[in-house]
C-alpha cells in the first residue's frame, strides 16, 4: 500500500478505536501539530456519512412505493360526498332550484370521513384503526373502499346517530345560522322533513351548509400575530368564491384572517350567492409567549451530531455566542437567515467543548437578545 493511502488506513483505525493507547497518543500528537491531518480526519468522517447516506436514501424509494395509496384523498373526502349524493341527493337536490345547489346535510357527508375508515377497518382487517396501507393490504384496501361505500349507503340510516358524535373533530360543519343547532344531528328521517320545507321556500341560501377545515396560528403575547386559516381545499358546499369574516361586516377573500390577537372569534363565511353562514364553534386563537423561548437545554454530542440553536423565529437572529464556565467565548457565529441553525459542540478552534453548563446569547437584528444555557453531557 502506498505511503499516500496509508494515512487513510491510520485514520480509519483511529476513528474506529482500533489503535492501542500508545499508537493513539502518537497519532493524537500528530493531529495536534498537523492541520492537514485534522482536515483529513474531518473529510474521512464526512466520507462515511456520504457513503452511508447514499445507500440509506435508497430506502425512500422503497417506502414511497410501500406507502403509496393513490386514491387516498378521494377516499377521505370525495367518497364521503359521493355517498352523500347517493343517499340524500336524489331526494334533495332535485327539489331545489339549480342555482342554489345546496350541498345539503353536509353533516352527513362529514360523518363519512371517520365512519368510512372505521367500517373499512372492520370489514377489511378487523384490527387496523388507522388508514395505513401496508404493502400487503394496499390493493385490498382499495377494493374494500368501493364495497364499503355501498355498504355504508345501506347502513347509514341505522348507524348515523352514533357516528355523528365522532364527526365534529374531524371536519367542521357550518349550518346556516338561522337553523337550530339541533340540525347538526339530523337523522335521515329528519332530513326528509327539511327538504319538504325547502320546497316551499325559494331562498337560495335555505338549507345551505358549507363545510371546511380550519386551523389557527397562535398570537404572540401582547401582539397581533395570530391567524385563522381556512384549508381552502376542504371547502365544500355553496358556490365559490368564498369570503371570510370575523365580524360579519368586513369580508376577505384571503384564506387566512391575519393579525389577530389571542382570543375567541366568531367566523363567518359567505359564498358567491352572498349566503352568509356562521361557523358553529367559537374559534380560539391561542396565545404563545414569543419573547421567552425555552431556556435550558441539554446536549450530548456523543449521541446527537448537533444542538439546534433555539432562535426566536419571529425575529432575525444576528449572532450567537456560547461561553464556557469562566465566561470565555468558546463559540461565536454570525447568523444569516437562521444559518447556522445548530452547533456541534466544537469550539471555534475545533476542540470539543467540555461538559457542564454553557451560557449562550443570541442577538437579534432588532437589538434584543435571548439568553439561556446549554448543558453539555458526554
Amino acid at each position: 500500500m502506498s505511503e499516500d493511502t496509508q494515512i487513510w488506513e491510520q485514520i480509519d483505525r483511529y476513528l474506529s478505536g482500533e489503535m492501542n493507547p500508545t499508537e493513539r497518543d502518537v497519532f493524537e500528537q500528530a493531529i495536534a501539530s498537523d492541520k492537514q491531518l485534522t482536515e483529513q480526519i474531518e473529510a474521512s468522517k464526512i466520507a462515511s456519512e456520504v457513503v452511508v447516506g447514499f445507500e440509506v436514501l435508497k430506502l425512500k424509494a422503497q417506502m414511497t412505493k410501500d406507502l403509496a395509496k393513490p386514491k387516498h384523498n378521494f377516499g377521505k373526502y370525495g367518497l364521503g360526498l359521493l355517498v352523500l349524493i347517493m343517499v340524500s341527493g336524489v331526494a334533495y337536490f332535485g327539489l331545489n332550484s339549480p342555482a342554489s345547489k345546496p350541498r345539503s346535510a353536509s353533516s352527513t357527508s362529514v360523518s363519512l370521513g371517520p365512519a368510512q375508515v372505521g367500517t373499512l377497518a372492520a370489514t377489511d382487517q378487523g384490527t387496523s384503526n388507522a388508514p395505513i396501507a401496508t404493502p400487503a393490504n394496499s390493493p385490498k384496501t382499495k377494493e374494500g373502499t368501493a364495497s364499503v361505500a355501498k355498504e355504508l349507503a345501506n347502513q347509514k340510516t341505522v348507524e348515523e346517530p352514533q357516528k355523528q358524535v365522532a364527526v365534529v373533530k374531524e371536519a367542521v360543519v357550518i349550518q346556516k345560522s338561522i337553523e337550530e343547532p339541533a340540525k347538526h344531528k339530523v337523522s335521515t328521517e329528519d332530513k326528509k322533513e327539511v327538504s319538504s320545507q325547502v320546497l316551499k321556500k325559494v331562498d337560495v341560501c335555505e338549507g345551505l351548509s358549507i363545510q371546511m377545515d380550519l386551523y389557527t396560528s397562535a398570537s404572540c403575547k401582547g401582539g397581533h400575530t395570530g391567524a385563522i386559516h381556512v384549508k381552502m381545499q376542504t371547502l365544500k358546499g355553496g358556490q365559490a368564491p368564498y369570503t371570510f369574516s370575523i365580524d360579519a361586516e368586513h369580508y376577505t377573500d384571503a384564506s387566512a384572517l391575519v393579525d389577530l390577537e389571542a382570543g375567541s372569534y366568531k367566523l363567518f363565511v359567505k359564498d358567491a350567492n352572498a349566503c352568509s353562514l356562521q361557523y358553529p364553534n367559537t374559534v380560539v386563537v391561542k396565545e404563545i409567549s414569543c419573547a421567552e423561548p425555552a431556556k435550558e437545554f441539554t446536549y450530548n454530542p456523543a449521541y446527537d451530531p448537533a444542538w439546534v440553536i433555539p432562535y426566536n423565529t419571529h425575529k432575525n437572529a444576528k449572532s450567537v455566542k456560547i461561553f464556557d464556565k469562566s465566561g470565555r467565548e468558546v463559540f461565536t457565529a454570525t447568523v444569516h437567515n437562521g444559518t447556522p441553525n445548530d452547533w456541534n459542540g466544537d469550539s471555534n478552534t475545533g476542540l470539543n467543548v467540555g461538559m457542564g453548563n454553557h451560557p449562550y446569547i443570541i442577538e437579534y437584528t432588532d437589538g434584543t437578545i435571548d439568553k439561556g444555557t446549554i448543558m453539555i453531557v458526554r
Binding site: 480509519d12 474531518e42 395505513i132
Partner: protein
C-alpha cells in the same frame, strides 16, 4: 413497555441489511403514531408519511454510522425525530401552533440525529457520482454493508484481500480528497 429484544432484532436487521423486515415492522408500530401526531397538529396523512420516511432514514443512518444509542427505544427515537421534523416544517410554513407536548417521554435530548437534509442529499449524490462506479460499489460493501475485505474481494472479483484493501483506501482517498477541497460541503456536513 419496551420490547428490548424486538428493538435489538430491528437494530441487527438494519445492520445486516434486512430492510423489508425493518420497514414492515415500522409501518405497523411507528407509522400510526406519527400519522396521529401530524394529523392532530395541522398536517395531513401524506405529510405524516413524508415525516415518517425522513425519520426512518435518520434511524438507518444513525445505526449505520454507529451513533445509535441502543438504550433508546426505536419507537421513541422515531417519534422524537418525526416530532422535531414536523415542528420545523410547521415553522417553515409559518403556521406556528402549539404542538402538543403530551406524549413526550425523555425530553432532555434533542433527537436530531444524523438527519439528511435536502442539501446534504444533493451533495451526497454529486459526490458519489464523481468517484466512479467501481468505487461506489466497493465503498458500499466496505462502509455501508460492513463486509470484510475478503468478502469484498469475492464480490468484486479481486485477486485477494490485499487488492480489496488497497482499492478501498484508494477509493476512500478519492472521496475524502474531493470533500477536503470543498469548504461549503464540509460546513454543510459539520452543521
Amino acid at each position: 413497555m419496551t420490547d428490548n429484544s424486538k428493538d435489538q432484532e430491528i437494530i441487527d436487521a438494519i445492520r445486516t441489511g434486512n430492510n423489508s423486515f425493518v420497514l414492515n415492522h415500522l409501518y405497523k408500530i411507528a407509522l400510526p403514531k406519527i400519522i396521529r401526531l401530524v394529523v392532530q397538529n395541522n398536517g395531513d396523512e401524506e405529510e405524516a408519511k413524508d415525516v415518517f420516511q425522513d425519520a426512518v432514514i435518520a434511524l438507518f443512518n444513525t445505526v449505520k454510522l454507529n451513533k445509535y444509542d441502543e438504550r433508546k427505544e426505536i419507537d421513541g427515537f422515531l417519534y422524537f425525530v418525526a416530532r422535531n421534523l414536523w415542528i420545523n416544517r410547521i415553522k417553515k410554513k409559518n403556521r406556528q401552533q402549539d404542538i402538543m407536548d403530551t406524549e413526550i417521554k425523555e425530553v432532555n435530548e434533542s433527537p436530531l440525529v444524523s438527519m439528511i437534509s435536502d442539501e446534504k442529499q444533493a451533495a451526497i449524490n454529486e459526490l458519489m457520482n464523481k468517484i466512479g462506479s467501481q468505487c461506489r460499489e466497493l465503498l458500499k460493501y466496505t462502509m455501508h454493508d460492513g463486509l470484510s475485505m475478503k468478502e469484498v474481494a469475492e464480490k468484486m472479483g479481486f485477486a485477494g484481500e490485499t487488492v480489496a484493501k488497497s482499492t478501498h483506501y484508494r477509493c476512500k482517498q478519492k472521496l475524502a480528497t474531493i470533500i477536503q477541497g470543498n469548504k461549503t460541503l464540509i460546513t454543510l456536513f459539520k452543521e
